[in-house]
Amino acid sequence: MLTLGQDRRSLRFAVVAVVVWSAFSLAYILGPLGDVSHTWFANIGTLLGVWSVVVLALLLWRSCAPDEIARRIWLALFLGFLLWAVGDTLWAFYDLLPGGEIPYPSPADLAWVAGYPPLAAALWLRYRSMEVRPGRGQWRALSLIVLVGLVVFGYVLWPTLTYTGYDRLIEQALDVLYPIGGFVLFAGSVLVAAAVRGGRLSSPWQIIALGIAILSLADLVFAYATWNDLYIIEGTPNVITILADAPYMGAYAAIAVGEYVLGRLEDTF
């Protein structure tokens, strides 16, 4: 990518992020230290990624002047990612507890659900601050959003909404909220990526938007897999579990790279 090629430090950061993500993904898939290690590698890889994203968002937020719109955007991103980091940490705690069952819903769900509104607000603020008119790129983005929306509705939301066997309403509510939240973030990130085309800022924002989009898609795959009892929590992961978990780690790595490149561009790092 042009931006990364022009700045050695950004390139180094991206290479390290890709290498770390690849190493954790491979270790997660292969489980070199035995059956239990799959879960360990998935959780550690995810935590490393999400906490890097949180720290970089914090630094970017603090580098903005108090009256800048970017400060509000980065504050919202920081809060959203912080809540998700808390959610991922709690999930890892339950997941790695020997013999422990992961409750549903758990406090991790509370943190994850709370993370959606600030992240969506950040994307909305970023998009609105640019004030771009709907052009060809915007219409293409909208078409993609509608397409993904139809898939989400048909394969994830509709079965959840029409299922009558729920014991508790909260479980059904969460199963509906996650895909909706994922879809909203996906739509926001695609719109932002389509708006900043052609300028120097486009690369970092597109990397960040791509990361959030992948994260949302991984969430949707996770929702689909758990609904159909295909998600493997312990032991060797199957294909759909890998498709949910490996991109999840990769998405955080991508967001961290985008944040770093943006920070370099704006003299923060």
């Binding site: 700045d7 800048e68 970017a70 120097r200 486009s202």
Partner: protein, 251 residues
């Protein structure tokens, strides 16, 4: 003569005389063309030049052949370039095109010097424009200052956010002019004035809108840095007068 590009080598500003020599009837038609197409030079040579500027921050003088795409006539020039920021934060290239006979100047490799040339270009445009002759040189200088500042903001926005964001800025300026009944216009970042006397309140309001938009899509730090570098090219009295009229405020 000067050509400014964005990070991908697309022309965002070109001096009028150069654009006409290259076969453009309207110099603004060159905006948006890739550097190689605008200068009529080999794509590989243009790519090498841009790569050198983006990675090292400057490119030393080299001979290159450029061609008018209207007449097909080609001629040799010396090309050199610099980047507005240190390597690693490359947002576009400032390229100087000079006849080979001219003595080479190290100033061509300095972004601040290139901004000075840009300011001079704006002055020339305003002097040659269709508006009535200005009564005072001071007012002319202030007008040049305002136009140069707006052009610098436009170029920064296009380089950072792409041409569609540059168009948003133009629309904002045009809308404000329509609403207030002012006779200024902005096209491709360049202001044209339809009335003889400068209206400081109009310039002030337009500047505020432009700076606010530039800050919202980039950052206060970047905008302040670019405008500070532009200020160096104007006399202390002009800058002082601009401050007095509210055309420049500390960000």
């Amino acid at each position: 003569m000067l050509v400014f590009t964005d990070e991908s080598g697309v022309v965002v500003l070109i001096e009028d005389d150069l654009a006409r020599a290259l076969g453009y009837d309207d110099p603004d038609d060159a905006l948006g063309d890739p550097l190689a197409a605008a200068l009529g030079m080999a794509a590989g040579d243009a790519e090498t030049l841009l790569k050198e500027i983006s990675t090292t921050g400057s490119a030393r003088h080299r001979l290159a052949q450029v061609r008018s795409h209207r007449t097909g006539r080609s001629w040799w020039v010396m090309l050199s370039g610099s980047a507005p920021a240190a390597a690693g934060r490359f947002i576009g290239a400032d390229i100087t095109v000079a006849p080979p006979a001219l003595p080479l100047s190290s100033d061509d490799l300095d972004h601040r010097h290139n901004l000075e040339q840009m300011a001079e270009m704006v002055r020339t445009r305003l002097r040659n424009g269709g508006e009535p002759v200005l009564s005072e040189e001071k007012e002319s200088e202030l007008r040049s200052y305002f136009a140069a500042r707006m052009l610098a903001i436009y170029i920064l926005i296009v380089r950072m956010g792409g041409r569609s964001l540059g168009e948003v800025l133009e629309e904002k300026v045009q809308r404000l002019n329509r609403e207030r009944g002012w006779s200024m216009d902005m096209r491709r970042g360049r202001l044209t004035f339809g009335e003889a006397s400068l209206r400081p309140e109009a310039c002030r309001e337009i500047t505020q809108v432009a700076v606010a938009y530039a800050v919202s899509v980039t950052s206060k730090r970047l905008v302040a840095k670019e405008l500070a570098e532009l200020d160096v090219n104007f006399g202390g009295t002009t800058v002082q007068r601009a401050t007095q009229y509210g055309l420049r405020k500390d960000l």
